[in-house]
Subunit: 177 residues, 2 copies
């Protein structure tokens, strides 16, 4: 069985959506929801506001209730019939996220064994045939075939095979009827 | 640079020693310290007592104050001049250990970047030239060269290159003067 490794934030989990909700509801901002889907928050926000976002990401509880990306659960469940599925998230950047992330995966992806979950930093350590990730910094050092999952911060990136959503992951990786 | 990945429990950390202290001080036992160095606690202890050990391993705080193995810090520091060092621990088995393990590494191995720390389950996911580990279940699925670090539970295992302590790691991996 080939091994397919999935990133968590902005691939399985709609992390950007939760952050946008915070910006729209709690920050003083001129942006609309549509504006905030066009680039990274790092590029769009004032450095002071982006600093606040970083602090929110670093705080306990942030990762506990992130919405699941549309179609992710059903597609991953079907993929697990054809691939050895691993989930690899750069949790080491946010040590307060460990338990939240572990519980989130248990809640939404309970069919993934704990043996197949990886909290890492640099993803060059991942031994897998495929990696689906929204960050080129993760895909570049990866030794297998990397697939870029579209996110606001990577809209202008070229040079990677790209999927826009879970329907496209299903299209690319599952047998056609 | 070749990549050398190190396991944590019973390789960097003297986990067995902490468990033996608990058995000798808190359990009703006929064993001496020497006896408890001759086999795994799973084999030596009554199932009820071993169940208690499992609960201790699962509880928050257990991993926070484990002693460091003799020579580990100095040797890993010297190895990091010659190898890309990663630390990979099967933390997913003990979700309450995440923060303890992260803080333990920051305290004793602060020269290892967070990007080079991996909390995983199955170590077949580790992409590395070498892995030093005390468990054959981790070394067998590993794709690179595995080295068995001697521990009470693996004394009778054959078929692996073996190191007994950090002096022997140094001998094997560092250039001789």
């Amino acid at each position: 069985m080939l091994r397919l490794t999935l990133d968590m934030d902005d691939v399985l989990a709609d992390t950007h959506e939760k952050l946008i909700d915070i910006v729209l509801n709690e920050f003083d901002t001129i942006y609309s929801r549509e504006d905030l889907m066009k680039d990274s928050l790092r590029n769009l926000l004032h450095p002071k506001q982006y600093g606040k976002i970083r602090n929110i990401l670093l705080s306990e509880g942030f990762f506990a209730d992130i919405p699941v990306k549309k179609g992710a659960v059903e597609t991953v469940r079907r993929l697990s019939d054809y691939y050895e599925i691993y989930i690899a998230t750069a949790a080491m950047e946010f040590p307060n996220s460990f338990v939240d992330k572990y519980n989130w995966l248990k809640k939404h992806f309970d069919f993934i064994d704990w043996k197949n979950i990886v909290f890492c930093g640099d993803k060059s350590i991942i031994n897998s045939d495929y990696l689906i990730d929204d960050h080129t910094k993760n895909l570049i050092p990866f030794k297998g075939t990397g697939i870029l999952f579209t996110a606001p911060h990577n809209l202008n990136v070229t040079g990677f095979q790209r999927v826009d959503n879970w329907d496209e992951v299903s299209e690319l990786f599952l047998p056609h009827r």
